[in-house]
Amino acid sequence: MAASSNQSNDVLYPMQTPLSRADLFKLKGGLTLFLIGLAVPILLLLEMRYVVAGGYVAPQVTQWPAIAATVAMLLSGLFTVAGSKSAKKANRPGIVRSYNWAILFALIAIILIGIPAFNGVLDPVSHYGETFIPTMGTIDVYLFFTWIGMLATRSRVKRLGNKIENYWGVYATNIVLWFMFVCWVVTWVQLYYL
């Protein structure tokens, strides 16, 4: 295949070309940079909470959704891991099955995280509330985009079928979801307990 710089031949379609080691290295590196960038706002928010509200934790903050969300995200993460395992064996139906569950649990997590932020228990005009709500909201937005990514991955695996030459998309989705899990746990522990 001639290397046209228009690239319409070899770049525009993900997952359809075999990846060399160098390609894979590049993709992993790019993803790492991206995640570093994504972590910065979370760090900023956590820091701002101490600046604005100190170590105070509002007693009325709703506990159960946070715990439940952690469980849901964990389950979702386990299913994406299973997806990656299936991808290693090029077991496409396996990937789709795992992703069905992973997508469901991620959706549940999104809703659960939204509850304590928006159920009106916290006063947004209090120091704790004004940092709690944007922080949880940011996590939720992140998670929402991750969720769309999961939908895309699943749909891609399903539609491209045996044209698939590499499963980087599946691995990457798994990595991003676990990154989100870490972000969430850090945020949760910090906002609820520290």
Binding site: Q7, N9, L12, G30, L33, M48, V51, V52, V125, R159
Partner: protein, 621 residues
């Protein structure tokens, strides 16, 4: 679903795809989709808003409406067909066209994207330049005459500063020149994430328009820094300031990810770190700054937006206004290095070529760029000398003075390279020298500002305005013009007439210095910032500054016009008119289509001009 999975849209040949059937021009489609997106989301949010007193377009609905518009625009202009649908596994129907149409649609060619970035950025320069001219027009007199109310003037200041910083300063040399040159410079045929890059460029015009039209929502008076708590009680136009800057920064963030990955992972064989071109080093340093600080300020702007529309009391409560200021300058100072580091790198790129002399002390040039990057996160609070408490003044002042050392290395390298060279005096090299001169003044006046005691007098006066225009226009804009003349043969295969080029260079140099050197003086005489009216004793000088500023404005127009003319109609250029050794000059001029038919192999450094030095690049076939 009738599409068979994996129905490959690919053409078997490697030729440029031709225009398929007639279709609506993508930007047109983008605009229509954007309008639909806006109406849809604005109506939904307006509709479910419990507050019946709200008007149809209110603070909250306009934010969602804008998001709808942005998604509509990016999807319509190509994101939907070329990015989203393939991501979900639908077959790709998008084909790139040829000719001038390429520049008006989604593309994955880094050269097309680079030019799209440059043109969008140039558009921002024109819009913000008109704003500057309006400000100078008002300042010709000590009372209101052009603007009716001072808030109109202050909005203009904000629009000028915001568009200049976020769509010109941050974008032109990074998203524009960087995207165009870096893949070629590292010997690659494409950038690392070309599909993302193709969509990010369309965020720039959208962001510029958002900021430019912000006065529609209401005047805002904070200037480009959006200081709290003023911003929270300001007119609603500030909402578009946050949103516009947000999308512009998102674009720059994607550029940064793309450039780092390209430089790190797509280098041709033999292109070791020791041989990496200076401009690539500059882009690397800048992109790291971007990856860290852009998300920081984006988050800050979201918080500020929430503080405005919810409203959260984040920055109004006692003690917290300073939080916003700190968060802003934490980004704000790295930002100014994001603007100038590319310029410093460009000097080191161009000077050895045009003086046919080996780049002097190359490793120190690199060290300088890297240390500027590292230190720039430690000096933010020098923007707050009169604002902060006493205890932090001295440490911050210390780092501020120290950062002049690595910045100075760029001068050391440039001077060492010029010394005893055979310096080809032409438009680009002249502009580099001018840029050095201007940036020197910018830097040395910074020494005064870094001294807290003196800063207490100069802060928030026109002295500061002079200082940063010297660094940004003097450093970055002059270097950008140097780059445009230098790379014109690469862009277009045509060249310019050196006489007319030098004429333009002298024009802007003289007008620039006449204008902005007087900013220092008028500031020392007591002219403070953000004022359309001022004490009468300053009027004469302001009048005359404005005249110089108009000359400068026309000078920029002349140069832009001349470059465009030469681009289209100029005399044909040689393949490698400057006899440069860097990889981009091994690609065809004008650079259209494939950069390198066969993979280049780097066997030597690029900046060695001694007689025995062999070719830097070989192509094995």
């Amino acid at each position: 679903m009738s599409v068979t999975p994996g129905n490959s849209p690919l053409q078997a040949t490697g030729e440029l795809p031709v225009v398929p059937r007639r279709r609506m021009s993508p930007p047109m489609k983008g605009v229509i989709w954007a309008a639909i997106g806006f109406l849809l989301l604005n109506s939904i949010v307006s509709g479910i808003d419990p507050d019946v007193l709200h008007s149809y377009v209110n603070q909250v609905s306009v934010v969602f409406g804008w998001m709808g518009a942005m998604v509509g625009w990016l999807f319509g202009v190509g994101g939907w067909d070329a990015l989203v649908k393939p991501a979900f596994g639908f077959p790709l129907k998008w084909k790139e066209t040829v000719g001038w149409r390429r520049y008006f649609e989604y593309s994955t060619d880094h050269k097309v994207i680079g030019i799209q970035y440059m043109v969008s950025s140039g558009l921002g320069f024109l819009i913000a330049g008109i704003a500057a001219m309006m400000m100078r027009l008002q300042l010709m007199s000590d009372h209101m005459w052009l603007f009716q109310y001072s808030k109109g003037y202050l909005t203009t200041v904000g629009v000028h500063g915001t568009i200049m910083m976020f769509s010109v300063g941050t974008v032109f040399m990074v998203g524009g020149l960087g995207n165009y040159l870096i893949p070629m410079m590292v010997g690659s045929n494409s950038s690392a994430f070309s599909r993302l890059s193709g969509i990010s460029v369309w965020m720039v015009p959208a962001g510029i328009m958002t900021v430019a039209f912000s006065p529609l929502l209401g005047d805002w008076t904070t200037g480009w820094r959006g200081y709290q708590p003023l911003a929270s009680q300001d007119g609603d136009g500030i909402i578009f300031y946050y949103l516009g800057v947000f999308i512009l920064l998102l674009s720059s963030l994607i550029v940064a990810l793309n450039l780092v990955a390209t430089i790190v992972f797509k280098r041709a064989p033999g292109l070791t770190w020791n041989r990496l071109p200076m401009y690539a080093w500059g882009m690397l340093a800048v992109s790291f700054l971007n990856i860290i600080w852009i998300p920081e300020i984006m988050m800050t702007f979201i918080l500020a937006l929430l503080a405005k529309i919810v409203p959260l009391p984040l920055f109004t409560a006692v003690g917290s206004p300073m939080v916003y200021l700190q968060m802003f300058w934490l980004f704000g100072h790295p930002e100014v290095y994001i603007v100038v580091v590319p310029a410093l790198a460009l000097w080191m790129e161009i000077l050895p070529v045009l003086s046919k002399k080996t780049l002097f002390a190359r490793q120190w040039g690199v060290i300088g760029l890297v240390f500027v990057m590292l230190l720039s996160g430690m000096v933010w609070a020098h923007h707050l000398f009169p604002t902060q408490g006493n205890s932090t003044i001295l440490p911050i002042s210390f780092f501020t003075e120290m950062i002049s050392i690595p910045t100075g290395f760029a001068f050391m390298v440039a001077i060492g390279t010029i010394w005893k060279s055979k310096f080809t005096l032409n438009t680009p090299s002249l502009l580099v020298l001018m840029s050095m001169f201007n940036f020197l003044i910018g830097g040395l006046t910074g020494v005064f500002l870094a001294d807290p005691m003196v800063n207490m007098q100069l802060h928030d006066t026109f002295f500061v305005v002079g200082h940063f225009h010297y660094t940004i226009i003097g450093g970055m804009v002059f270097s950008s013009f140097a780059a445009m003349y230098y790379y014109l043969p690469k862009f277009s295969g045509r060249t310019f007439n050196d006489k007319w080029g030098q004429f333009g260079a002298y024009w802007i140099f003289i007008a620039f210095n006449a204008t902005f050197f007087q900013f220092f003086i008028v500031g020392l005489r007591g002219m403070n910032r953000w004022v359309p009216v001022y004490p009468h004793y300053l009027m004469w000088q302001n009048f005359e500054i404005s005249i110089c500023a108009f000359l400068l404005g026309f000078g920029f127009l002349y140069n832009i016009g001349y470059i465009i003319w030469a681009w289209v109609k100029g005399p044909a250029a040689e393949e490698n008119p400057w006899k440069a050794k860097t990889l981009e000059w091994y690609a065809p001029s004008p650079a259209v289509g494939t950069n390198f038919e066969t993979e280049p192999q780097v066997v030597n450094g690029f900046y060695d001009y001694s007689d025995g030095a062999g070719e830097a690049v070989v192509f094995q076939s």
